[in-house]
Amino acid sequence: MLAALFPVALQSQATGVIYGTLRDTAGRPLTAALVRVAGTELSTRPGPDGVYRLPDVPAGVVTLEARALGYRPARDSTTLAAGDSARIDFTLAVEVIHIPPDVFNLEPIVVTAGKREQSLHDVIASVAIVADSQIARRAVTSLDEAVDRAAGVQMLNGQINIRGSTGYVQGLGSRVLLLVDGVPMNQGDRGGINWDLLPVDNVERVEVVKGAGSALYGSAALGGVVNLITRDIPDDAHARVRLIGGNFAGPPHDVWKFRSSTGLEGGADVTASWGRDPFRGALSFGARHSDGYRQQDEHDHWQVAAKGQYRLDPVTRLDVSGAWASDQYLVPLAWCVRGQCDDRGEAYQPFMVDTSGLGDHTVSDKGYATAVVSREPSPNLSWLARASWLRTDFTDYQRAGNDFGIANRFGGEVRGVVHPDHGRVVTVGGEVAYSDVTSDIFGVHTQAEYAAYGEGEHALGGARLTTGARIDFLAVDGGGLTAVVSPRLGVVLSRGRDVWRASVGRGFRAPSLAERFVTTFVSGIRVVPNPNLMPEDAWSGEIGVARPFASDRARIDAALFWTEARRLIEPAFSSSPLQIQFQNLARARLAGLDLSIAAVPLTSRLSTTLAYTYLYARELAQDTAPARPLAFRPRHLLTLSADYSLGAASLGADFRYSSRFERVELYETDPRVAAKVLDLRAAWRHGPLAAHVLVSNALNYIYNLVPRTLAPVRTITLAITWTY
């Protein structure tokens, strides 16, 4: 009877547990690694924090082997008593090796596509990864600049588009969900994204999951999900200082000059950390000032961020993190056209603003705090519980009158991942979110979201089949519940060296409180609320294939995608009564090809990547309105990158081409051009010091992507990083 009730307990009497960490000599956790009990098939991979755990190890003298690509293997032994546990930590030294083709090819591990760790080639959706090395070599000052060069991604004045998902709606209602370490961070009032929430230097990598992700993430994951994954905290004491400085090129034509001096920018980030189990902690401070590259473009930014980990026992961990950022910036309004400024006889002055808006500025504070308890009681079961709070607070100081908005978004989630047997994984969870806003233009309102989700992955021969669904209940101001069901179905099939994937799923976005309740004036016309707005939704599907070629030196990934969206929320103008109101208006179709080729490295010194997206984006005919191109979507988006290494130094370049938008809004007859931007970079490393120079928009190509808003001009940035 007891044996039937407690089989695990009896089994454990003949075995024990070995756990520990895998790190490199700098203390960084090694995740793409393997720990194996010598002479057996018992093995495991460490988690993202480098911690591994091997249960059911036969008692006695045990020898462990640890391997990671690019590191010298290590062995260690211990005596393990039955029912006991032992700890073995490995520190692996870098080893220069030649990898024979077809021998060992470690795919990156991603955590966003399935709300759990997966090898990239097991994922049913397309995923783009921006590693910290890419962020560092681009010497960027904000995270949107880092994400902007990811395959299939385009930022429009801070608004992210994945395969043309959002277009440009002036910061309202992003159709992409932002996560920080898996925690949703879209604003509680406007539904937009604050890319300056986190210090750039704190981000280890960015995962961009393309296509509808609402089956796991719910609202806002209509076009995709972006997860900012922060750095783990290494053993012992470490510090990191990043100094950044730069200057903006002046206008390339005298008739556009607007100031006599050169625009400068500069800033510093300092991070200190200390780690020794069971406690680890990190604290960051940063500040930045920019003169901007156009008139009325000055910006000051301060931030603080902290992260802590407490390991309650070998399988249970508490993670807390938070950040606060404060920004003060002048508001660069639409550029001035003839008669609105000192136009010097020009039709428009792209570096100058309408004099009627001079002096307008914004103060914006934002911060978040999260706590996550995660536990892995057995290799077959893990769970986590999290709570989060996001707060945003802005005041727009304008001649016509000030506006303000204070919003909170509280969130909570419980999630479990079960491996019932080899070849099956089940993820289940529940999530709640509560948003409130107090604002002179959005009013005082609340929105609650309750959700439950489940997804299962099953091995079927050479294929892995994924099915799942999520149900969300939405309530505004304590009113009735609106239910939204988001299913997803996908399959991954390995055929020789090709990995095929296909998926179809539903995405949705609940209207933001701002879209429902905004009451203001735009261009002198009243904007009225629409409390009856419905969620917008889309069915999205893709078929993709990934294959290595050129003796495994290169990898091609191609995907055909298709999205059928309906009830898209757009501002609608009415002449009688005279007003603007957000309404569920448009049906749209977005389809195309997403292609990326990476040769990393192509030769021993040269790495190159190519990413191309072809996009067909149409607003479908409805009632008397004819079909037309969706505004602010490029038909062609191309990114070329190359990096050449010369020992401690390296040189690189990015080229981004975005075809001319077929249609824009507000100023349809304004001149517009394709975007052709060349970035050059160089890096040098010596011990703990690294210097990166970036010349972005090196040819000072003058263009705009959103109406009458000049895109960044040539900017030379130097970033010096010291790591202890």
């Binding site: 034509h253 008739v255 556009w256 056209v337 003839r338 008669g339 609105q340 136009d343 006889g345 020009e346 039709a347 428009y348 792209p350 004036f521 735009v522 261009s523 002198g524 016309i525 009243r526 501002p571 103008f573 002449s575 009688s576 009564p577 005279l578 603007i580 080229f655 081409y657 809004e665 507000l666 100023y667 349809e668 007859t669 001149p671 051009v673 394709a674 052709k676 931007v677 060349l678 040819l699 190509y701 003058i702 263009y703 705009n704």
Partner: protein
């Protein structure tokens, strides 16, 4: 190496173009669909001026409710008139079609509603063929046919503006 040079050269060529200085137009731009012309500004500009627009109606509005059925369709922005000089060459991008009424609308500072349109808006001048009779409309029909229709010239006279009630008395439903 040759490949790198070729790629670099291709990029340099590709990066030609972009936006450049554009002198204020004095005639309809090429590849432009809409109307263009010169407005001559007379009278004293009111201190309460917010903006002066040029707009076009396909059909003369029949009621106050149709006041905002002009082209370009809102929320696209109408052409604005610079008041810095006594003449101003405007370009108004509008789709192909026949337009009954092309006019300048003076707007006073303030937020607009149908209710306060009478106090915030004035007709400040409109296009009328020089050989036309004195009727208020019908004498200034403009046809746009895939090019810029030029020389749609008229006068803005701030001393002789007409409120909405001039065209649509408050009690009248149709004019």
């Amino acid at each position: 190496m040759r490949l790198c040079v070729a790629v670099a050269a291709a990029l340099l060529v590709a990066c030609n173009g972009g936006l450049g200085p554009t002198p204020a137009p004095t005639s309809c731009p090429t590849n432009f669909t809409g109307i263009c012309g010169t407005v001559t500004i007379r009278g004293t500009t009111p201190e309460s001026t917010d903006v002066v627009y040029v707009v076009a109606y396909q059909t003369f509005p029949q009621s106050r409710g149709e006041l905002f059925d002009f082209f370009p369709r809102l929320p696209n922005q109408p052409a604005t008139v610079s008041l810095a000089d006594s003449t101003y060459f405007y370009t108004l991008g509008i789709p192909n079609g026949r337009y009954d009424w092309v006019l300048a609308v003076w707007k006073k500072v303030g937020n607009l509603t149908i209710a306060n349109a009478d106090s915030l808006l004035r007709e400040a001048g409109y296009y009328k063929r020089t050989d036309a009779d004195t009727s208020l409309y019908g004498a200034g029909i403009v046809v746009v046919n895939s090019i810029g229709t030029d020389s749609i010239n008229f006068v803005i006279d701030f001393d002789n503006m007409h409120p909405v009630s001039f065209y649509f008395p408050a009690a009248a439903v149709r004019r």
